[in-house]
């Protein structure tokens, strides 16, 4: 029983990270109706930036917030420079751009920092808050995730800019007619998604270690989480993230073993697409004719 509780709590910690990245995927999806395959690599790249800053002697939290800011600007820049020109291109062309971004970020990082695995510090103190069930970093990661999610919720729900972002994603034409600069809203969405991804990267790096391929598995779990929750539902993606984290951890520990854990994500992706393509909280698209 103790072991199970431990696995569930640890699953919540990684689940929070999946939830953040899933949320980033959903934010881009709502605006473009496409899944940004490079989301994980963008997060990985910004985590390396944080590593450089910390190694240069910057205190952890200063590096943390500076990295979030840099990630935001990077997201805005990518949307403006790379995504904007293919805005009206066919789906496959955009998917190719996303995959290219994934490969470019992966290779550039490997080129700059080498593929050697590095350790990444955790900012959380060594004392155990929840006894033997949860490591301080896991507890801290859950807390950080919840803070990020609460901030995002408040931003989208209660600010005029958040409302404009939601409007621009839903109905760009009507948004322009009320004076919303839709292009900038999309760029802002990319910036926010990249910033959330950066937080996820910095929280997962102490667990999985820093290397250019660290987000490959995480992105798969996040994608499964977004699908489980419904790819167009931010709240669903968050619930999905925590659920996938717990499921992966418990199954990995007791049923299929750690080596086969990643297949949980793949089974979930295929299962959800087969049985309930709109996810458990997603909107079912019915077209009236």
């Amino acid at each position: 029983m103790d072991a199970l509780l431990h696995q569930v709590l640890a699953g919540l910690a990684t689940g929070g990270i999946y939830a953040s990245l899933a949320l980033a995927l959903v934010m881009i999806y709502q605006a473009t109706h496409l899944v940004n395959f490079a989301q994980g690599e963008m997060a990985m790249f910004t985590t390396y930036i944080a590593w450089s800053l910390i190694n240069a002697g910057m205190p952890y939290w200063a590096a943390f917030f500076l990295t979030v800011g840099i990630a935001f600007l990077l997201g805005v820049l990518i949307e403006r420079v790379i995504i904007r020109p293919v805005e009206h291109a066919p789906v496959l062309a955009v998917v190719v751009v996303f995959i290219a971004l994934l490969l470019i970020f992966n290779s550039v990082t490997g080129w700059i920092y080498t593929y050697t695995i590095k350790t990444f510090p955790s900012p959380f103190p060594e004392q155990r808050l929840f006894g033997r069930y949860l490591s301080p970093h896991e507890a801290g990661a859950i807390g950080t995730t919840l803070v990020v999610l609460a901030l995002l919720y408040a931003f989208f729900r209660f600010t005029p800019l958040g409302l404009a972002l939601r409007a621009a994603a839903q109905n760009p034409e009507s948004s322009r007619l009320v004076g919303i600069r839709v292009g900038w809203m999309l760029a802002l969405g990319w910036g926010l998604a990249a910033a959330v991804g950066a937080v996820a990267g910095m929280m997962v790096a102490p667990i999985v270690y820093l290397d250019p391929n660290m987000m490959g598995g995480v992105l798969l779990y996040a994608f499964a989480a977004a699908l489980v929750g419904g790819i167009d539902n931010p709240g669903g993606a968050v619930v999905g993230g925590f659920a996938v984290g717990v499921l992966e951890n418990v199954l990995g520990a007791f049923v299929i073993g750690n080596e086969l854990k990643l297949s949980v994500a793949l089974v979930l992706i295929i299962g959800v697409l087969l049985v309930k393509p709109s996810g458990f909280f997603g909107r079912v698209h019915v077209t009236r004719v």
């Binding site: 005029p160 404009a164 007619l177």
Partner: protein, 237 residues
């Protein structure tokens, strides 16, 4: 007197299909002008051209400024509110959020509050449904919402694309009555595209008849109402 809106030699095309062949007309401040014409004559395209939603040749002047070639969002910020064909509702947002979006570019918070109150007075049904998802409103309610959202912009000019479309005659009468009140109370000019020519000519003080992308007839609404060709083609008597 300078015109509020002036279109000169306005041409527009969808791909290779030319829809507007040179539209010319002007409308005065505080006036209501109706655009009449058969399906496919180019009425909707004229409105979309004014808003920068289609690429155009020719010139559009609004309140002394040349606006053709500008972005839709910048034209909206000048005070042109478009009630589009199909109503343009933000279906997944609440009624009140739809209205807040209408006032997105405004910074005068107190005046926005007053305007919100005013549209709720015009359309009490919207107040009842303020927390409801706009996609669940009836067609008539969504049309009221579209007009209200445009009003929240505090516009100088409203472009109304078939506001009567799909509405019961009683609802249309109510809506047109409110449009008349809005025009009288706040001096908002209106450019109205309508299939229902009889209703449109009753509301409007001016009218233009468009045929295959050109203005073929224009004048005071009273005059056009008695014009034989207009009566035969658009009024059915």
């Amino acid at each position: 007197m300078t015109a509020l809106l002036q279109l000169s030699e306005l041409k527009a095309a969808y791909g290779a299909t030319r829809v507007l062949h040179g539209i010319d007309f002007a409308m005065a401040e505080r006036s209501i002008t109706a655009l009449l014409g058969a399906n496919g004559a180019g009425k909707t395209t004229t409105l979309r051209a004014i808003c920068g939603m289609v690429r155009v040749e020719g010139e559009v002047h609004f309140a002394g400024e040349r606006i053709d070639g500008r972005k839709t969002e910048d034209i909206a910020r000048l005070g042109i509110a478009h009630v589009p064909d199909g109503r343009g509702t933000f279906l997944h947002l609440t009624t009140e959020e739809n209205l807040q979006l209408g006032a997105y570019t405004r910074r005068d918070r107190d005046a926005v509050e007053r305007d919100l109150d005013r549209v709720y007075t015009y359309f009490p049904r919207l107040r009842e449904r303020r927390k409801q998802q706009a996609g669940t409103l009836s067609g008539g309610e969504q049309q009221m919402l579209a007009v209200s959202r445009a009003l929240m912009l505090a516009p100088k000019l409203m472009l109304l694309d078939e506001p009567s479309f799909g509405l019961a005659p009683l609802v249309v009468r109510e809506l047109f009555g409110i449009l008349r009140t809005i025009n009288a109370e706040s001096g908002v000019s209106m450019l109205l595209v309508e299939q229902n020519a009889a209703m449109a000519l009753e509301l409007a003080d001016h009218a233009c008849v468009i045929e295959t992308g050109r203005v073929v007839l224009s004048g005071a609404a009273e005059t056009l109402k008695r014009d034989d060709a207009v009566r035969r083609s658009y009024l059915g008597h």
